[in-house]
Symmetry: C2
Subunit: 199 residues, 2 copies
């Protein structure tokens, strides 16, 4: 017989679906919520349901979006003529919080990885191509991670820009090789963006 009651088992198993949470942590979280954080648990339950029901993806930049008009796809941002490509939402947030960049974004929600079946379609690159064809983009900034797959993705994106005679830049490699953009300190990230070079 499992030492937990059915509902407690279900809660612990649900908590295990959070990234980086093993069986021990899930149990500790469940007990903590039930013992000392019932208000927090209720708020979390409500926030989850509310987020799932109301947060979608922007049709243009693919970032999470809960409004009709995406805050990152404004006409004002398009006026800069800059479009920055990142692998995920956390990368967009890192750039927005730590650098003065206020152009537009395109969020790949991944990186090219043929072995995992992730090709141009999965990353929305046809849509990106259409955006580049629209003519307002004067600089395509590639801010994919400096990993093997991130570099391969940048190479592919650079070709897309060059084919349309758009200036293509890559953020500087102040970011340590093999590292994840999301975890870099603010100074390094700002430096990497300002030191971007033409490809």
């Amino acid at each position: 017989m499992t030492p937990y009651s059915p509902r407690l088992t279900r809660l612990i198993e649900a908590l295990r679906r959070l990234p980086g949470v093993g069986p021990k942590s899930a149990q500790r979280m469940a007990f903590h919520l039930l013992e000392r954080e019932r208000d927090g648990a209720r708020a979390l339950g409500a926030a989850l349901v509310d987020a799932l029901d109301n947060i979608g993806r922007c049709e243009q930049c693919r970032m999470f979006c809960e409004d009709q008009a995406c805050r990152y796809c404004s006409a004002q941002r398009a006026e800069t003529g800059q479009l920055c490509i990142v692998e995920g939402p956390a990368d967009l947030v890192a750039i927005e919080q730590n650098t003065p960049y206020r152009g537009r974004y395109f969020v790949l929600m991944g990186r090219l990885s043929p072995i995992d079946g992730v090709g141009p379609e999965e990353l929305g690159l046809p849509r990106l191509g259409a955006m580049l064809d629209a003519g307002w983009v004067r600089e395509l900034i590639l801010a994919t991670n400096p990993t093997v797959e991130g570099e391969a993705t940048a190479y592919y994106l650079a070709e897309m820009g060059r084919a349309r005679d758009i200036r293509v830049t890559r953020i500087a490699h102040g970011v340590p090789m093999g590292g994840e953009l999301e975890y870099v300190d603010a100074g390094t990230l700002a430096h990497a963006l300002s030191g971007r070079r033409s490809l």
Copy 2:
């Protein structure tokens, strides 16, 4: 302007109320759930609400309980004459999973800590006293953590047992001093329980 939309901000803040989750992890969890684990997120939201609505505390042993009859407070378990006192639900589960002990329990939901305003009332010790007065307890097993506060709590509990001429035992200190019962490996914990000594 915060880089997150209001609902995303709310979700990230709710995730931060989980133990051991800082701002970076909370953000990573939120993005992961929205990007790749929407079913899991919905299951977690439902499990939280369901747990809060239906999991209470046993009136006898103070363990989490969702049924009328607590599985740990059965007449069969009382027949052993053994009552094991632990600080929290995770300790009960650790003993139940890793040792052959099948007597009854009493879960303090804390430890004596006058500085934090946690006295005998907060730990339900009047109720424990009444349980001991009922006469079926022949051995009171003290399984509080071997920390300063856990030892002080054990000392207090031992006095409660002795005052009623009940045999009082303490789990053996195979558990490393200053450690947390919940994280000890199965073998050590089983050894500590079987090597308990009279106080």
